[in-house]
């Protein structure tokens, strides 16, 4: 199999990390695609939970928002938002919290709040949403994002959600007993935290990616594992599954858009 984009590789590599018995709290965007590819390939029984309250959902197309009707239509059950955050997240039922990030540092701390000073921000981002508690109540955190110097920075502007803090046993020192970020999948590589320092370390380069490419698109000095591997290329099944999902999603959104337009012209 040849011909796949770095973004496709990212989604597929992330999907492979998910297991059939995982209970996954799904962030929108790249995490959502990875989780659904996992469900449609090797993890058919995975439980996908979106913060809108849908538990065990199996959407046929990717939702644009975390609360699309498709998520409820296909869910095992749909609960209220307070129940979602109390019983299911805080209750310790989530094995994997899957997050994206606007800004990320090498210890897996995430900023989605502001660029610049909090009181007088240069750019006001949407904020944390569910992330601050997903980051500490899920048993593990997976992060996925495309690499860029703007996104992967030495120092984030705001600690929206806590990863490994300053590294080492910082989580433990704060009394947080969950594992925190254990995996980062980018469009170029797979990263895992160093067992001691907790700094994200590249353990596998995607096909075609080089150490230089990884460093050039990352704002901190990148560490590479001595046992660096190459990520297996997407299988035919994986790639076909992802592309079908994206095609169904695009078609559905176009159909809806056309329908909406027709509706308002009729009106």
């Amino acid at each position: 199999m040849t011909g796949f984009t770095p973004n496709e590789m990212m989604t597929i590599a992330a999907s492979r990390a998910l297991k059939n018995d995982d209970v996954c709290f799904v962030g929108i965007g790249a995490p959502s695609a990875a989780c659904n590819v996992a469900r449609l390939t090797h993890a058919p029984d995975i439980t996908l939970i979106y913060e809108s309250g849908t538990i065990g959902t199996a959407p046929d197309v990717l939702p644009l928002s975390i609360g699309d009707g498709e998520l409820c239509d296909t869910a095992v059950t749909t609960v209220s938002v307070p129940e979602m955050f109390r019983y299911w997240l805080q209750g310790g039922r989530i094995s994997i919290g899957f997050l994206g990030a606007a800004q990320l540092d090498k210890f897996g701390n995430i900023n989605t709040t502001v660029i610049g000073d909090y009181a007088h921000p240069k750019t006001r981002l949407p904020g944390g949403g569910g992330a601050p508690e997903i980051a500490t109540s899920s048993r593990e955190i997976y992060i996925t994002m495309a690499q860029s110097k703007r996104g992967m920075v030495e120092k984030i502007d705001f600690y929206t959600s806590f990863g490994h803090g300053e590294g080492g046993d910082h989580r433990k020192r704060l009394g947080i007993d969950t594992a925190g970020p254990t995996l980062l999948v980018t469009d170029l590589a797979i990263w895992k935290p160093d067992p001691e320092t907790k700094e994200f370390t590249v353990v596998s380069l995607h096909p075609g990616a080089t150490r230089e490419m990884v460093q050039e698109t990352c704002g901190w000095a990148v560490k590479f594992s001595p046992a660096l591997e190459e990520t297996p290329a997407p299988s035919e099944l994986e790639l076909a599954t992802l592309r079908d999902l994206k095609a169904r999603t695009d078609a559905a959104h176009k159909r809806d858009a056309a329908a909406a337009k027709r509706g308002s012209k009729d009106g």
Binding site: L64, G67, C72, R124, G128, G165
Partner: protein
């Protein structure tokens, strides 16, 4: 006790300048028609409360109605940023906007505490998160049995909450279904509550006993506004207008274009216009049948 009123009356009777108000809906069932009516009536100095401020709060902030925003995720869901909210926070346009920012868990717990009549919510949250440092309404509280330090936030108690729902019955009980979000708590936490509904049915006989129903004596007024949550959706009635959310990203980005759009689509529009806006989206309504 719920009164059936035209939307303009329901809003005029229940919203006042300076109120703390929640227009709630978690992606689903967003009470757009009620928000547009509030915009037409020109309220000022509002404290806008919502977990996920989206288009309607972007519009209200952009129209200069808000002095404060209490929220946990101020984004255009699935699209990006809220341009009018950004302009207010970053540039003080059209007026400075005070913000009180929380996580979803905190806001959900705060509404729950409001519904439960408590002064504060207690949960395990904000560990290592910087919001706890910039928001004085996040305080530590200690479990008297284990010594664990938990987080406390004040209960949310709006003066008035607006929601949109699928159905009311003739007595004024309201049924919410699908993604129910935080609506029940937002209504029960508030002093007054106004509900726009897709339709009124004779009764809820034959429906399952455990559905999400707000008894008529928890509601101040009900207005019948088919399509009233467009461009959001109403499970079982019509689909989400994703294109409108994408389009908003451009409209909201420009102050003049925003004003022109508001003039045409809100100021000169009526609650009755919402029905036509969802006509084409009815075929895409959720497949799963809802009683």
């Amino acid at each position: 006790m719920a009164k059936f009123l035209p939307l303009a009356h329901a809003v005029a009777e229940n919203l006042r300048d300076g109120d703390k108000v929640a227009f709630e809906g978690f992606t689903h069932l967003i009470p757009t028609a009620a928000a547009h009516e509030a915009i037409r009536q020109g309220f000022r100095n509002l404290t806008l409360i919502r977990m996920t401020p989206d288009l309607i709060y972007d519009q209200m902030v952009g129209m200069g109605m808000a002095k404060k925003l209490v929220f946990s995720y101020a984004g255009n869901p699935g699209v990006g940023l809220l341009r009018r909210v950004r302009d207010a926070v970053e540039n003080g346009f059209p007026n400075a906007l005070e913000i009180e920012e929380h996580s979803h868990a905190a806001m959900a717990n705060a509404y729950e505490a409001g519904a439960a009549g408590l002064p504060c919510a207690v949960f395990r949250g904000y560990r290592g998160a910087e919001l706890a440092k910039v928001n004085p309404n996040i305080k530590p509280i200690t479990c008297p049995f284990t010594g664990e330090q938990l987080a406390a936030v004040p209960a949310v108690r709006p003066d008035v909450t607006f929601i949109h729902a699928q159905k009311a019955n003739r007595r004024g009980d309201v049924l919410v279904e699908g993604i129910i979000g935080i609506q029940k708590e937002a209504v029960l936490a508030a002093k007054r509550a106004v509900v726009t509904v897709e339709e009124v049915v004779e009764d809820f006989d034959g429906l399952h006993p455990n559905l999400t129903i707000l008894p008529r004596w928890t509601i101040s007024a009900i207005s019948i506004v088919p399509g009233g949550s467009h461009p959001s959706y109403a499970h079982g009635c019509y689909a989400r207008d994703n294109a409108a959310y994408l389009e908003w990203d451009e409209i909201g980005a420009d102050r003049d274009r925003f004003r022109a759009w508001m003039e045409e689509n809100v100021m000169r529009a009526k609650p009755e216009d919402f029905a036509a806006r969802v006509e084409g989206l009815r075929a895409g309504a959720s497949l799963r049948s809802v009683a």
